[in-house]
């Protein structure tokens, strides 16, 4: 009797702590997304919005090669940058997790500084470096290595890729680092004792066991890059037309909220579908063995 009383009280406290957060997110994030969804079925009548449900917007987008291409382009950028981040971040995550003792927290803090400083300043710094009359070009010319500025440095897919990778590296590094840090050293020692060499230990022990961290980082970077709006806008120049900038246009100058909403929701669904496929694939793969065991 007494125990159930305590249990009931605990439940009440949990509810009191949970409810404000749930209500806040439901009211100001889920509900607005729902409103956006409803707009995707409306139509535009000159300067006002006609609230008669129709599938026209979706039909038009699905049959338009331009929009399909833009969504595909966003997904490809997401995939490419996520792979790039994984390759670049992996050695550093390994280094911080297993080779550093005293400076560990300093090295991790150094990674947080650019992350928290915000995309606007990071992009600004890169524009200073990559501009046609910018730091890198002027340095190369001053040193006499080139005769005229390398134009493709700024306002190009190259610039966009560099800055996207730079922006989202920490989101790959932290899950990877956490996964490798949690790895028990005795596995590696056992493998060494049994005659495995450095590379063998890496490919047969470290890499498979850090799989969940790698996938978590991969998906985070993928989702963030697909949804990124500022970087292609400010670094890509004429190549900076993305699905997000198209959506922005429809909410700005073009005043076509319904088509913009439909495009936004198609982007969200294709992202969610991709993420679901990766998670399911990982869960079924040999690397997902650790997670499957925990579930049982």
């Amino acid at each position: 009797m007494k125990l159930t009383g305590i249990e009931a009280k605990r439940r009440r406290t949990a509810l009191v702590l949970t409810a404000p957060n749930v209500l806040f997110v439901l009211a100001f994030c889920v509900l607005p997304l729902g409103v956006l969804f409803s707009y995707s079925f409306f139509q535009v009548d000159f300067v006002s919005i006609l609230r008669e449900p129709t599938f026209d917007n979706y039909n038009r987008i699905i049959h338009s090669e331009t929009y399909r291409g833009l969504i595909l382009k966003a997904l490809i950028y997401g995939l490419g940058v996520a792979v790039l981040c994984g390759v670049i971040a992996y050695p550093l995550a390994l280094f911080i997790a297993k080779r550093v003792n005293i400076y560990k927290s300093a090295l991790l803090t150094l990674l947080l500084i650019p992350l928290y400083t915000g995309d606007l300043i990071r992009i600004f710094a890169w524009r200073v470096v990559l501009g046609a009359e910018g730091v890198l070009n002027s340095l190369l010319m001053w040193l006499g290595l080139i005769d005229e500025p390398i134009w493709f440095l700024l306002f190009s897919p190259f610039a966009t890729t560099v800055v996207l990778t730079y922006n989202y590296l920490p989101f790959m590094l932290f899950p990877l680092w956490a996964a490798i840090e949690a790895l028990d050293d005795s596995y590696m020692e056992a493998a060494m004792d049994l005659g495995s060499r450095d590379l063998g230990v890496f490919f047969r022990i470290i890499l498979p066991l850090s799989g969940p961290g790698l996938v978590a980082g991969f998906l985070m970077v993928f989702v963030l890059v697909v949804g990124d709006y500022l970087t292609p806008q400010l670094m890509g120049g004429s190549s900076g037309v993305t699905v997000t900038s198209a959506i922005h246009d429809m909410f700005g100058a073009a005043f076509d909220w319904p088509t913009g909403s439909a495009l936004a929701w198609l982007l969200l669904s294709s992202m969610a579908l991709f993420v679901a496929c990766v998670v399911y694939g990982f869960y079924r793969s040999p690397w997902g063995r650790g997670i499957r065991k925990q579930d049982k």
Binding site: L33, L36, T109, L111, Y229
Partner: protein
């Protein structure tokens, strides 16, 4: 063999941090260069660009708006984030994964889509854009960061202390007030610092929900979309230096052991 692998990794780490900090350092270098052009060769040392920023009334006004946004956002997110972190680390219930997913949802929805969802929502309920709408939308995006920081401190707290308080007859509120809160205080403070920094830096969502009250980030973004200037370098550098202080303080607090 092992040592060679180690020194390769060490060299790689150096190169990595160079790549991460080079743009920021160059920005700093050219904020002190006297030439109007942001290009080599360097022409001479000056503090003029900084003086210009300090004398710019428009920037000062933007800074005030930024504060009027950041302080309430910090309060909202640390209160809600503390509650959420307590739930995530101290209670077990069936729908907990769903609760966690709901919390991080605003972070994973692309910022632009989140922003236009706000626009349609405000339009439908007939609410004007202003300070309140920025507070709400920024808080949603920043809440996941704050929750994770506070939760990371709560995970490390020895649960036996709280259990002992319960065994000795403390009521839930007493237990929280006298045991949990003092132990998580550093985490809350660390999270508040980060919340403040993230609010200052936020651009995309503020741009769509701020209307006529323009925080510094929105003001400056329209400047540098069209031209770069050394005084913008100076401003960016000031913001970076400020952030570095706050972030180091925050990380120090978060990792510190609490002594009774």
């Amino acid at each position: 063999m092992k040592n060679r692998g180690g020194s390769i990794l060490q060299g790689y780490a150096f190169a990595f941090y160079g790549f991460v900090y080079l743009p920021i350092l160059l920005m700093g270098l050219f904020s002190l260069n006297s030439s109007n052009l942001i290009a080599f060769p360097l022409t001479g040392f000056t503090f003029n660009w900084y003086v210009q920023i300090f004398n710019d009334g428009r920037i000062f006004k933007g800074l005030l708006t930024t504060m009027a946004v950041a302080i309430p956002v910090t309060l909202i997110t640390t209160v809600l984030g503390s509650m959420a972190a307590l739930v995530l680390t101290r209670y077990q219930f069936r729908l907990k994964p769903l609760f966690a997913a709901l919390l991080v949802l605003p972070f994973f929805v692309p910022k632009l889509i989140f922003a236009i969802a706000q626009v349609t929502f405000l339009n439908d309920i007939g609410m004007d854009k202003g300070l309140i709408t920025v507070w709400i939308s920024q808080s949603l995006i920043i809440l996941p960061f704050v929750t994770i920081i506070i939760a990371s401190v709560l995970y490390k707290i020895d649960k036996s202390l709280e259990e002992a308080a319960e065994d000795l007859g403390a009521r839930p509120w007493q237990k929280f007030r006298r045991i949990t809160l003092p132990l998580m205080k550093n985490g809350i403070l660390a999270a508040a610092f980060i919340s403040f920094v993230l609010s200052n830096a936020e651009y995309t969502v503020s741009f769509f929900t701020s209307g006529r009250v323009q925080p510094l980030s929105v003001l400056v973004a329209s400047d540098f979309r069209f031209h770069l200037s050394p005084s913008l370098n100076a401003l960016a550098m000031l913001i970076v230096l400020f952030n570095i202080c706050i972030i180091i303080a925050s990380e120090w607090l978060r990792r510190r052991k609490v002594h009774q």
